[in-house]
């Protein structure tokens, strides 16, 4: 078993760009879903705006909850798609490292 030279991989521009892309993707979406979720108890606790009826007898509170569910499934799908693209780049980095292309 050989030791992996992490310093060498970490200093490759491909790696740095992949890392940056990943963080740029993760951070804004994470902030978004955290705010969207925590806004819910704030709105239901301090305002009455979600108590109005949206469709028939169904009030906005239910719609907000449903939208959060849809948000989860959508963001999971988005993540799966993006992660696949990141996988390709990561595999490429591993391949190059293994084949000794990084000096």
């Amino acid at each position: 078993m050989s030791e992996i030279d992490y310093r060498k991989i970490a200093s490759q521009p491909e790696f740095e760009s992949l890392l940056k892309k990943r963080n740029k993707f993760i951070l804004p979406i994470s902030i978004f879903f955290i705010i969207a979720t925590l806004l819910f108890p704030v709105l239901t606790g301090y305002t009455d705006i979600l108590n109005n009826e949206a469709f028939g007898n169904i009030s906005w509170a239910w719609i907000y909850a449903l939208l959060l569910f849809i948000m989860v499934w959508t963001l999971v799908t988005v993540y799966m798609k993006r992660a696949k693209a990141f996988d390709k780049e990561a595999d490429e980095i591993i391949r190059k490292y293994r084949e000794g292309e990084y000096k």
Binding site: Y6, T37, F40, N57, A61, A65, V76, F86, Y97, R98
Partner: protein, 515 residues
């Protein structure tokens, strides 16, 4: 207790014992014991995560709460589900790439200090004990209600079953019990939801319309709108924070990510889990509304003041004895799947983190490790059974939300900093875990859960801290504690962080380069 219940009960117990028998033949190494050999597929692990996560409290508890409190009963489901975005976006892949058996492995991947691992294991053990105690006490009461078996006998039956699964079948048996449970739970909820919707001619508007007319003197507002339960807004926000950030720090959930081959499979298991868990929570609305429409409020409360019997009673109304027995069997399966997962994660923290890594410094043979794992699993089981029997008359339901709170305050900040913060160091990690843990525990002791002048808590005095769940304070405290600890401690070389970054982003391992 009727014959149908006994037959369904025996079929389930028999089937899971057969699973355990086959699993035991495949459990030959520590890796098999803790991770089922790491060979589960995405959908299998997704099902198992759902089985591990959806406790009897979500099945019977949420359905009952919706039946009694309408919207407020459903409210928290939102937090339980969106929490999986934190798991997926922030924790799952780095965890899979860095860890081996436990959360502490992941943190230790960056900080080799034994102390860090010991503290990480300590917070995992605290979480497991709280969660387990609440589950077992709830299970005892529930089985007493469903099958009319005395409380202590119920706890012992559940205890013996979970010990058998874990001791002989390890993670393989535990995973399959969780998968079977998830499937049974989904069949049960889909079936009852279908029968409920049939009553309303599949018109959701009619259903909501009928719910609008529900009134009761204890409802502090409309049944269909937030606030009927009269909880303070700060309490709601605090609990939502605990749920959102806690799931990604729960040791028994995180442990499931080591049962798959790689980060790719880890993420697809989260995808499966969010679909199953999400659909389940939506269906609980129909269960709750169905119970509110077809049963009387008095009936539900008379059977159990918290509403836990709403779903079984509804099943009886809709499908007679047969459906009721099925629901009871599902509830039993639900309890077992969750406690088995907890035993395993508790055992891994004791045997792998504390014994093998901290005390023996990794110098243990395979057979010693296996023996330690089994002794730990057995001890965790026995200890929790004893604690649960003593806690019979205590109100310990709040321990579940406390477990989420400790996970969110002590584990998550350190996990996040380990992955994303270059300057983070050993002192920071230790300070973060201790602050999160201590602040959560102290605030709970000062909270209305423990201090209640009416005598409902443990001490009959005015609570010093007003919130039931301390997450609003303790989660920021955990982040700040880790932050301050880092600056007070010695700066460390970035060599290890570089390794953590490369591993977590690429998933590279020695097997990638050694062939």
């Amino acid at each position: 207790m009727n014959l149908t219940v006994i037959i369904m009960f025996l079929v389930f117990v028999g089937a899971t014992l057969v699973i355990t028998y086959f699993a035991s033949k495949r459990t030959n190494s520590t890796k098999d014991f803790y991770t089922a050999g790491g060979g589960l597929t995405g959908w299998q692990n997704g099902l198992a995560i759902s089985g591990d996560y959806l406790s009897a409290a979500s099945f019977l508890g949420i359905a009952g709460a919706i039946a009694l409190w309408g919207f407020d009963g459903f409210f928290y489901s939102v937090g339980y589900l969106t929490a999986y975005l934190v798991v997926l976006y922030i924790v799952a892949e780095p965890l899979r790439n860095l860890g081996k058996y436990t959360v502490a492995d992941m943190i230790a991947a960056r900080f080799e200090m034994k102390k860090v691992r010991a503290f990480a294991a300590l917070s995992s053990i605290t979480i497991v004990i709280f969660y387990m105690l609440a589950q077992l006490v709830g299970a005892g009461a529930l089985i007493q209600l469903l099958f009319d078996i005395p409380y202590s006998v119920s706890v012992i039956i559940v205890g013996i079953m979970m010990t058998i699964y874990v001791l002989f079948g390890g993670m393989t048996a535990t995973s399959w019990v969780q998968m079977v449970k998830a499937i049974l739970l989904m069949i049960g909820t889909i079936l009852i939801s279908f029968l409920v919707l049939l009553q309303f001619n599949f018109n959701i508007f009619t259903m909501f319309g009928e719910m609008k007319n529900i009134t009761a003197p204890e409802l502090e507002g409309s049944f269909l709108n937030p606030g009927a339960q009269g909880e303070s807004p700060l309490n709601n926000i605090s609990l939502m924070i605990a749920l959102l950030f806690g799931t990604a720090g729960l040791p028994h959930i995180l442990m499931r990510f080591f049962t798959v081959r790689d980060a790719k499979t880890a993420r697809s298991s989260v995808m499966w889990a969010t679909w199953i868990i999400g659909i389940f929570y939506i269906l609980t609305i129909f269960l709750g509304f169905g119970a509110a429409a077809l049963l009387t409020r008095e009936e539900i409360i008379a059977a159990n003041p918290a509403g836990n019997m709403a779903a079984p009673l509804l099943a009886e109304r809709l499908g007679g004895d047969l459906l009721m027995s099925f629901v009871a069997a599902v509830a039993f399966a639900t309890i077992l799947a969750v406690v088995a997962g907890l035993v395993l994660s508790g055992a891994s923290a004791f045997a792998h983190d504390i014994y093998a890594q901290v005390i023996k410094k990794g110098q243990v043979s395979e057979s010693q490790q296996m023996l330690a794992a089994k002794i730990a699993a057995f001890s965790v089981s026995v200890l929790s059974i004893i604690l649960a029997i003593f806690a019979q008359d205590q109100n310990v339901a709040f321990l579940v939300s406390l477990a989420f709170c400790v996970a969110a305050s002590a584990n998550l900040p350190v996990i996040v900093y380990t992955i994303f913060w270059k300057r983070f160091n050993t002192q920071g990690a230790i300070a973060g875990i201790i602050t999160g843990l201590v602040v959560s525990l102290v605030l709970v002791i000062l909270s209305p859960n423990v201090m209640d002048p009416s005598g409902a808590g443990f001490i009959a005095v005015e609570p010093i801290f007003p919130l039931n769940n301390p997450a609003l304070i303790s989660v920021p405290a955990g982040f700040i504690g880790a932050f301050l600890g880092t600056f007070l401690g010695k700066p460390e070389s970035h060599e290890k962080y570089r390794e953590v970054k490369v591993k977590s982003v690429t998933g590279i391992s020695t097997s990638d380069v050694s062939h």
